[in-house]
C-alpha cells in the first residue's frame, strides 16, 4: 500500500501523519506537494491537519483550489482511501467531497485535549478493527471543529449511515449530533476532527487511533489479495 501525505503551505500535521504510517505500518509513504497534479499509484491519501494558507479566509477554503485537490477527486473516483484529519477534514468539506461545514467552537477557544470517541460503524476500511459502540481515546486540537449541516443533510447522513465517530461524554465544540467524523456514501473518504495520527502509541498517551491505520492496510490487502498473494 502506497500512502501520500499531502502538503499545503501551512500544513503542520504532515510530519505526524508520515510518522504514523512509518511507525505503525512500515509501508511506503511520501509527501506530495500541493502543486502536484496526479496521485496515480497512491492507495491511501492523507489530508493532514494544520493551518493551510493560515486559515485566513475560512479553514480549508483556499487549499481546496490547490491542483492536488483535483487529483484527490480523481483518486476518490477510482476508490482510493482518503482520510482528512482536522484541517484536512475542513478541506474535504470545502471541496465538497464530504457534506457540511465548520463553525468556530462554541467556547470560541482553541481546544486541545484527550477526547473519547464512540465508533458508530465498523464496516468501513478505516474502522474494521473497532467494535461498534467502542469508546476510543483520540485527541482533538482545533478552534473550528463545530460541524454543521442542515436538517435535511443530517437526515441523509443518518439514512446512509455516514456518521463514523461521535463524541462520547461532553461534546467539546458544539457539533451537530455530536459528530466527530463522517464518510462519503461510498465509504472510502473519511473526515474527522480528532487526530488518530497522534494516538498511535502509549508513549504519546493513547494508541486509540492506531487501528484506523492497521484497518485500512488490511482492507487494502483484502482488496488486492489476488494480486499480491
Amino acid at each position: 500500500m502506497r500512502t501520500a501525505v499531502l502538503v499545503f503551505p501551512g500544513s503542520n500535521c504532515d510530519v505526524d501523519c508520515y510518522k504514523a504510517i512509518e511507525q505503525t505500518l512500515g509501508t511506503p509513504v511520501e509527501y506530495v506537494w500541493h502543486q502536484e497534479t496526479s496521485l496515480d499509484g497512491f492507495d491511501l491519501i492523507l489530508v493532514p491537519g494544520g493551518f493551510s494558507y493560515g486559515d485566513y479566509l475560512r479553514c480549508g477554503a483556499i487549499a481546496r483550489f490547490a491542483p492536488v485537490m483535483d487529483a484527490v477527486k480523481v483518486a476518490v473516483e477510482r476508490g482510493a482511501f482518503v482520510l482528512g484529519v482536522c484541517n484536512g477534514f475542513q478541506i474535504l468539506l470545502e471541496s465538497g467531497l464530504l457534506p457540511g461545514a465548520m463553525r468556530k467552537n462554541t467556547s470560541l477557544k482553541f481546544i486541545c485535549q484527550p477526547q473519547m470517541l464512540r465508533v458508530a460503524r465498523n464496516d468501513l476500511a478505516f474502522t474494521a478493527e473497532y467494535a461498534v459502540g467502542e469508546e476510543i481515546n483520540v485527541p482533538i486540537a482545533h478552534g473550528e471543529g463545530n460541524y454543521y449541516c442542515d436538517e435535511a443533510t443530517l437526515e441523509e447522513l443518518k439514512a446512509n449511515n455516514q456518521i463514523v465517530f461521535t463524541y462520547a461524554g461532553t461534546n467539546p465544540n458544539g457539533s451537530v449530533a455530536d459528530i466527530a467524523g463522517i464518510t462519503n456514501k461510498q465509504g472510502n473518504v473519511v473526515g474527522m476532527m480528532p487526530h488518530p495520527e497522534r494516538a498511535v502509541s502509549e508513549l504519546l498517551g493513547s494508541d486509540g487511533g492506531k487501528r484506523m491505520f492497521t484497518s485500512v492496510l488490511n482492507a487494502w490487502r483484502e482488496r488486492n489479495g489476488a494480486v499480491i498473494g
Binding site: 503542520n12 493560515g54 486559515d55 486541545c112 486540537a141 478552534g143 497522534r198
Partner: protein, 751 residues
C-alpha cells in the same frame, strides 16, 4: 563639527544641525555623553537616519548597556556547551552528533499595550532565533505573570496573552508543552510575557549570523516592510507611562503562516548548504541584523534601500531601517549559490530580494534614491556602546525584613480549609484553562505535556528525550535576591530531575524594574550572584537569555523576576517520570528536611496576607546531593512518581500527586514542628516520591546512603487524601473534591 557628507531624503526629517541644536537624540533615549561619542565616531554630527540607527543599537534591548557588567558574572561554559551567549541562541550537546538549541525572550512591554499581538510576536521572535541557527524548533514554553485575577483589565490581559501565544504556536505547528503562570498584584499593569523555544540540530548544521566574503550578496527574506514597530527596542527600554500608551504603533502584528513558510524555506536553504550566514530581523529589524552580521565577520555592508520590499508608500530610510515588521530574515550567500537559494524561497512563495552586498571597509552604508544616506562604522554600532555600572543600594525593606519573625502567625485550627484555600489560589490551581488552548501535542513528540513539574519531549529516532521547565518565585527574589536567585535555578533543576532528566543548562530572562534606581539595580546584581552560584554548583551554565528592565509603572516596580528556562536530558525513555501517584499500595516518601520557613510562602501570602521576612534558605551542596541521589534512583527504575515541593509545600504537593494520579493517599507524619509548618512550609531541596512496595527499601537505602534525609510517610490508597500529624487527623478530603476546587479556580474567575 564638519558638515555632513551624507544627505537625507526626507524633507520633513530634522537635519543633523537641528538634531544637535534641539537635542532630538534625547527623545530617542541617547544621552549627551553618548551623542558626543557618536559624533566622535562619525567625525561629524549624525543625520536623522544615523542617530536613529545608533539609538536602537545602543538601547538597553540591543546593547545590554546597563546589564552587561552584571551578566558577566554568569558561568557560560561547560563540557557540553557548543555555543554560549552572543548568537541567536545557545547550543548544548546531547550526544550522537545531536544538540539542543534554546533561548527565552521577553515581550513584556508590547504585551502590556496590545496583549494578543504582543504575546504572538514574542513567540514568533523566539522561534526565529531558534531556526536561524539552523535548528528545527520542537517545543515552546512560556512564563507569564499578571496582576491578581480580579480586575477586568487583568482578565483581559491574561485572556488575550494566552490566545496570542496559542494563535501563533498552534498555527505554526510547534507544540506549547508547558510553562508557568503566576498572578500577583506586583505585576498589575506590568504583565510579564516570556517565551522560550527549544530546537534540535545536528552539530554540522549549526549556523552563525556572519556576513563573510567581500562582494557577496545580502538577501532580504519575508514579507514587505511596513511602518510597524518603529522604535520598538527603545520602547522596551522605558518605563510604561500614559505617554507610552499613546505610542501604540510600536506594536507589530504577527503572521504565523508567513513564519511557518519562512521556517520551512530557511531550514531547506540551510540543509542545501547554499548560504554563508543567516540572521533574523528581530528588535531594530534591518539595522540590528545587518550591523551584527557585518560586525561578526569583521566586514561592512552596503544596503540599497530602494530594493527593500515595502508595504507602504513613501517610506524613508529612517523608517525602513527601524521598522520591526515581523517574520523577516537576512542572509548572505556567494554569487554561485544565489540561484539555488532564491529558488527555494520561490517555491515556498516567499519574497527573497537582493538588498545589499558585503564590503571590506567595516562600515554600514545605506543608499536611497541614488544617494548615500548613512555611513557608520559597524564595530562602533555593535560594540562601542558605553556600559554603565549603576549605583547600587540595599533597599530599606530588605533591612527591615531581617527582624521579621515569620513564625509569629497563629496556627489556624482547620488545616484542611487552608489546603482548600491554597488549591483555589490561581497561581497554584490547575492551568488547564490556559494550556487546553495550546496545541501541546503537534509533532507527536510530547510525552509529558503541561501540568507536571517539567514537560518532556521525545528526541525523534532515539531513546532520548528532553525535559524542560520554566521557574521563578518572584516573592523569594524580592525578599532576598541572592537566596531567591539560587532557588530559581535550583527549583528549575529539581523539576527536570523529577521528570528523570540530567539538568544540562539554562537560559534566563531577567525581568526587573528600572536599573536607574539603586535599590532595583541591587536586586538585579544580587539575584544574579545567587543564580550564578547555583549554576556553578548544579553545573548548569547559562547559554543565553534576555534582559527586560524598566518593568515599572506609576505604582512601582514588579517583583524582581529572573525567570529560568532549564533543559535536561533524559537518557532513556524508560526514565521518564511524572508527578501523579501510579498504583494502589505504593509507598510514599518525603526526601529532604523540613523547617519552619514561611517567608515568601503561599501560605503566608494567602492566609496571613503578608509577604515579609526572609525566604526559605537553600544549601546548594545539599540540593546537588539530593538531585544526584534522586536521579540515580529514577534511572535505576526505583521510582514510580516524583514531585518537587514548591509553592504550598507538602500539603499542596500531596494534593497534586493525588489529583494527577486520580488516587488517594494515607499519610502519617511524626514531627516536632508545628503542623502548619509540616504541611505548608516551603523548605527547599524536598521531593515527594512514590515507589512500589517492592522497591521501597532499596529506594530508602539509596537516598539514605547519599546522606539525604528521607522518611516513608504513607501509602497510595483509596480515593481520599488523609493526613495525620503526630496521630491527629489534619486532612481527610475526597480527592475529587480537591480536584474540583483546583480545576475550577481559574475558569470560575474568568467566567
Amino acid at each position: 563639527m564638519a558638515q555632513s557628507s551624507v544627505k537625507s531624503n526626507a524633507a520633513k526629517e530634522p537635519t543633523a544641525a537641528q538634531i544637535a541644536e534641539q537635542k532630538i537624540y534625547r527623545q530617542m533615549g541617547v544621552t549627551e555623553a553618548e551623542y558626543e561619542l557618536i559624533c566622535g565616531f562619525l567625525g561629524r554630527n549624525p543625520n536623522y537616519v544615523e542617530i536613529g540607527v545608533f539609538s536602537v543599537m545602543w538601547s538597553e534591548h540591543c546593547s545590554y548597556k546597563n546589564s552587561k557588567p552584571v551578566l558577566r558574572k554568569f558561568p557560560v561554559t561547560g563540557p557540553r556547551v557548543l555555543m554560549g551567549p552572543g548568537e541567536g541562541a545557545g547550543i548544548v550537546d546531547i550526544g550522537d552528533n545531536q544538540a539542543v538549541v534554546f533561548k527565552i525572550e521577553s515581550h513584556n512591554h508590547p504585551s502590556a499595550i496590545e496583549p494578543f499581538q504582543g504575546a504572538a510576536t514574542g513567540v514568533g521572535g523566539i522561534i526565529r532565533d531558534i531556526f536561524s541557527m539552523g535548528s528545527r524548533p520542537i517545543a515552546l514554553m512560556n512564563s507569564l505573570r499578571f496582576g491578581r485575577l480580579e480586575s477586568e483589565r487583568v482578565k483581559y490581559l491574561f485572556e488575550h496573552v494566552v490566545s496570542g501565544i496559542a494563535g501563533y504556536g498552534n498555527c505554526i505547528g510547534i507544540p506549547t508543552v508547558g510553562g508557568e503562570v503566576v498572578f500577583d498584584e506586583a505585576y498589575e499593569g506590568n504583565p510579564l510575557v516570556n517565551a522560550m523555544c527549544i530546537g534540535l540540530i545536528n552539530h554540522d548544521q549549526i549556523q552563525r549570523g556572519v556576513a563573510k566574503g567581500v562582494g557577496n550578496p545580502v538577501y532580504y527574506v519575508g514579507p514587505a516592510t511596513g511602518r510597524d514597530g518603529i522604535h520598538g527596542a527603545t520602547f522596551a527600554s522605558e518605563e510604561l507611562t500614559a505617554e507610552s500608551e499613546a505610542k501604540r504603533p510600536a506594536v507589530q502584528v504577527g503572521d504565523p503562516f508567513m513564519e511557518k513558510l519562512c521556517l520551512e524555506a530557511c531550514l531547506e536553504l540551510i540543509a542545501s548548504g547554499n548560504l554563508v550566514g543567516i540572521q533574523d530581523m528581530g528588535a531594530a529589524g534591518l539595522t540590528c541584523s545587518s550591523a551584527e552580521m557585518a560586525a561578526k565577520a569583521g566586514n561592512g555592508i552596503e544596503l540599497y534601500l530602494d530594493e527593500v520590499p515595502q508595504r507602504e508608500t513613501g517610506m524613508t530610510p529612517y523608517e525602513m531601517m527601524l521598522s520591526e515588521s515581523q517574520e523577516r530574515m537576512l542572509f548572505v550567500c556567494t554569487p554561485e549559490q544565489e540561484e539555488a537559494a532564491t529558488a527555494i524561497f520561490d517555491r515556498w512563495g516567499i519574497i527573497c530580494k537582493k538588498v545589499g552586498k558585503v564590503t571590506d571597509d567595516g562600515r554600514l552604508r545605506l543608499f536611497h534614491k541614488g544617494e548615500q544616506v548613512a555611513d557608520m562604522p559597524v564595530q562602533e554600532l555593535t560594540e562601542a556602546c558605553p556600559t554603565y555600572n549603576k549605583p547600587s543600594k540595599v533597599p530599606a525593606y530588605y533591612e527591615a525584613n531581617a527582624s521579621v519573625d515569620t513564625t509569629r502567625y497563629e496556627e489556624p485550627a482547620d488545616l484542611q480549609a487552608v489546603l482548600e484555600k491554597l488549591l483555589d489560589v490561581p497561581s497554584i490551581a490547575s492551568k488547564e484553562w490556559v494550556y487546553n488552548q495550546y496545541d501541546y501535542m503537534v509533532r507527536t513528540g510530547t510525552v509529558i505535556g503541561p501540568g507536571s513539574d517539567a514537560a518532556v519531549v521525545h528526541v525523534p529516532g532515539t531513546r532520548k528525550a528532553l525535559a524542560t521547565s520554566t521557574d521563578c518565585n518572584g516573592r523569594y527574589v524580592y525578599l532576598d535576591p541572592e537566596m531567591g536567585g539560587r532557588i530559581a535555578v535550583a527549583e528549575a533543576a529539581r523539576n527536570v530531575v523529577c521528570s528523570g532528566a540530567e539538568p544540562l543548562a539554562i537560559t534566563d530572562n531577567l525581568n526587573f524594574g528600572s536599573p536607574d534606581k539603586p535599590e532595583i539595580f541591587w536586586q538585579l546584581t544580587t539575584s544574579v550572584d545567587g543564580m550564578a552560584e547555583a549554576c556553578r554548583v548544579l553545573e548548569t551554565p547559562v547559554i543565553g537569555g534576555n534582559v527586560s528592565l524598566y518593568n515599572e509603572n506609576t505604582k512601582g516596580a514588579i517583583y524582581p523576576t529572573p525567570v529560568i528556562g532549564m533543559v535536561g536530558l533524559i537518557h532513556d525513555l524508560d526514565h521518564i517520570t511524572s508527578q501523579g501517584f501510579k498504583a494502589e499500595g505504593d509507598a510514599i516518601f518525603l526526601i529532604g528536611e523540613t523547617n519552619v520557613e514561611f517567608g515568601g510562602s503561599e501560605y503566608q501570602a494567602s492566609i496571613f496576607n503578608v509577604v515579609e521576612g526572609r525566604p526559605p534558605v537553600i544549601d546548594l551542596a545539599v540540593e546537588k546531593t539530593m538531585q544526584n541521589a534522586l536521579l540515580g534512583s529514577i534511572q535505576a527504575g526505583l521510582v514510580q512518581s516524583a514531585h518537587d515541593l514548591s509553592e504550598g509545600g507538602l500539603g499542596v504537593a500531596l494534593a497534586e500527586s493525588c489529583i494527577s494520579g486520580k488516587r488517594g493517599a494515607s499519610v502519617s507524619i511524626e514531627s516536632t514542628l508545628r503542623a502548619d509548618a509540616v504541611l505548608y512550609s516551603e523548605s527547599q531541596s524536598r521531593v515527594l516520591v512514590s515507589t512500589t512496595q517492592a522497591n521501597a527499601a532499596a529506594f530508602a537505602e539509596a537516598i539514605g546512603k547519599a546522606g539525604v534525609p528521607i522518611a516513608q510517610i504513607g501509602t497510595v490508597t483509596g480515593e481520599t487524601l488523609n493526613v495525620s500529624i503526630n496521630g491527629a487527623s489534619k486532612i481527610a478530603a475526597q480527592v475529587s473534591k480537591l480536584q474540583q476546587i483546583w480545576k475550577d479556580a481559574i475558569p470560575c474567575r474568568m467566567a
